[in-house]
Symmetry: C2
Subunit: 196 residues, 2 copies
């Protein structure tokens, strides 16, 4: 199955609308396949995030570096997600974030201008966008809720329940940063969790 077939499946499933051959030709004409090797950067702090990329294969992290030089992971991304700093992407402002491939990445990427011009006329694409934005808003709200009112241990349990695949795919120090914890604290939480 080609990269585009993966994408066609995804959009049809999410939108509930079948794509015509014409639709598919529009996508193949404008979505640009791109490969990144592990540790390569999709976006660097200070640059404008011109593209959003659909992840066909691989994984990435979006992180910020604070004044003390500590990295904080805001987002971990896997297959079937769109990769971008959306603030920078929509507003075309310099990004405060870095996006780095954690595994070799295969993307289908496109600019917002191209989306507006070529993809927005396709109903399945518009419907897909709706669903994505809804899911994204809900997921963020839940994570925010967890960050504000849960203890470190509850946040970890939440991750184990809701995103078990993260533990398969990402090293623990990345998970720790994603949860807003030091690696040592996560290690101790996991040790305790074994007992119960």
């Amino acid at each position: 199955m080609s990269n585009f077939d993966v994408f066609f499946d995804y959009i049809q499933k999410l939108s509930g609308i079948m794509l015509s051959e014409d639709d598919k030709r529009v996508f193949t004409a404008h979505l640009k396949p791109k490969k990144l090797r592990k540790r390569q950067y999709f976006l660097q702090e200070g640059d404008v995030c011109k593209y959003t990329g659909f992840i066909v294969k691989g994984s990435a992290r979006t992180f910020r570096v604070d004044e003390k030089g500590h990295e904080h992971i805001l987002k971990l991304s896997l297959e079937d997600w769109w990769l971008a700093d959306f603030e920078s992407y929509y507003h075309l402002t310099p990004s405060r974030y870095n996006i780095e491939a954690l595994e070799d990445l295969e993307l289908l990427q496109i600019t917002n201008a191209q989306v507006e011009e070529f993809l927005s006329p396709i109903p399945a694409f518009v419907a897909m966008q709706e669903v994505i934005k809804q899911n994204y808003a809900i997921a963020n709200q839940n994570r925010l809720q967890a960050a504000i009112s849960y203890t470190a241990e509850e946040r970890y349990d939440d991750l184990v329940t809701n995103y078990p695949q993260f533990l398969q795919r990402f090293p623990l120090n990345m998970i720790a940063s994603y949860l807003g914890l030091s690696p040592e604290t996560l290690s101790r939480i996991r040790k305790n969790a074994l007992k119960s």
Copy 2:
């Protein structure tokens, strides 16, 4: 200026599209004015959030009660925001949140089904929704970033800078909960801030 005029101004400004008299008639026909007194609930935990309400006047808080009986404020809302638990609203599932008026509220409310049927054909409304969802996603991402990687003091400074109106309108114990802090800690942070 009537409640609807406030809304018409808002939607025209956000969408960049003028409303026709026909458009306005659709809105007045389907957006239902609703008043809530201070301390009344717009939504109770366990209920489905059937309506979203445009806030013409007043303020509200969205909060969760944990097992220990502690309240955690997820969102503080003022004029020109839409009030709802969007997870419950879109999926029609029971909500985990309560939404309570902190000041007398004047709303224009509507169900998602009505939006789909009557409002979605109006281009200005669709454009407005786009902008709102984008802003909401960006704001949530920034807050998440702050919650994960900022200290309590940095989060407070952030609020002072980005949402100074919150300090005018909400009591400090609400602000504390919104920042994920105990009221005592916020009090001490503010005392320290005076020195510098």
